[in-house]
Symmetry: C2
Subunit: 221 residues, 2 copies
DNA sequence: ACCTGAACACCGTTCAAGT
DNA sequence: ACCTGAACACCGTTCAAGT
């Protein structure tokens, strides 16, 4: 949990804004208007201060984003009941992480910043690694297994978020549409066959299906 | 392949810059200095023109990026020999896409923009979908299988690129390090066990391993 | 110690005018 | 048809000064 750095005993001027206020306001802006709206200047204005006051509580914008993700994860990640079967344990832990991340699209920018979101997420990583070990993998294989799940999960969220955002914008002629418009049935028969259903098919939520397949494949060694 | 829009017969002023020149220069900037260096203004300066001249050949920066990816894919994607076994065919096609994308880190920004990179990539998607169908999946399942591979592949590249970029910057105290510094062995015993090897383990290239696991899991239905 | 003002060095994009 | 200049509406961050 983030807290103001050094709580000294009134050495100088009393602070007018706190790290918590910054984080709180930033989260509100994020929820209201999306990632693009969160700028240091707007944040300062919303707080009723100047851009530079922020830099006294936060090193820079990147640190602010990590702090935000950390705070969000701590508040919303709830440890689920874990099934006894190790393979199911891996799946439940991964789904819990996915669920929380998928719910806040602004996360995407920070997602790639690090593979470990926050201290709160460690417990979930532990369950995944431990579940794989119980499946009979070596510790190294288990870590690689976790990485594979992380790639898949992060990729799903990033691609899906981008797709949703694109749909929200009014720009009509999506690149994909123009590509799909004139498929050569001789060159790519399967794609030609599903062309008109592609959008609907890819809009379906198949995260759990893919996750199960991945975990099955990883556990069967 | 991108080409200048309308080659009319000298209706007005002759063009001083072409779409191809824009793309060529943009690719050079990308190779030299990374994504951050590619701005409309810098591009124009490099060409020896003004920012606004670009907008005459390209709708906006997003379109430019899609054009760049398209051009890059067309030049570098080479169709590989496909094995007879369908499952191997899926893997070979996916690895071909992954190899090309992994080689150019600037791609990341555009990656999420659409799941279909360019016309050139369609053949590879076809092989993956068709391979899954030959494995006994329905067409719908095959498309979902392709999507799972795409999530995994895009995620791997994005996370890995971000990690590499982070390593390049001199900023020392990476978030992960501070999180790993004081792991509680009672809370997260497995992670505590691998803590000092985590960096080395996650630096390993395990894309193909994970891909094989995923494809195995998807094909076994 | 904490905050402010002014400034630096940038962005993408639009508009009106030039050739 | 194609290009230019000037401007709009922004960015993140630093520096020097104020209280």
């Amino acid at each position: 949990m983030p807290q103001t750095p050094a709580p000294r005993k009134t050495p100088g001027r009393p602070p007018r804004i706190s790290r918590d206020e910054i984080i709180g306001t930033a989260l509100r802006i994020l929820d209201e208007g999306g990632v693009d709206r969160l700028t240091m200047r707007r944040l300062a204005a919303e707080i009723g201060s100047t851009p530079m006051a922020l830099y006294h509580h936060v090193r820079n914008k990147d640190e602010l984003l990590v702090l935000l993700l950390d705070d969000y994860a701590t508040r919303t990640l709830r440890r689920p009941e874990l099934p006894a079967q190790p393979r199911e344990r891996v799946i439940v832990a991964a789904e819990a992480i996915h669920e929380v991340l998928a719910a806040c699209p602004w996360i995407v920018t920070v997602l790639t910043a690090d593979d470990l979101l926050s201290k709160t997420a460690l417990w979930f990583v532990e369950q995944i690694v431990d579940g794989f070990v119980d499946c009979g993998l070596t510790l190294d294989q288990a870590v690689h297994g976790y990485r594979a799940i992380w790639y898949y999960t992060a990729g799903e969220i990033m691609v899906r978020t981008a797709a949703t955002r694109r749909r929200a914008e009014d720009d009509r002629p999506i690149h994909r549409e123009s590509v799909f418009a004139d498929l050569d049935p001789d060159e790519v028969p399967r794609l030609a066959q599903v062309a008109d259903r592609w959008e609907a098919l890819t809009a379906q939520d198949t995260y759990s299906d893919g996750l199960r397949a991945l975990v099955d494949g990883l556990a069967t060694r």
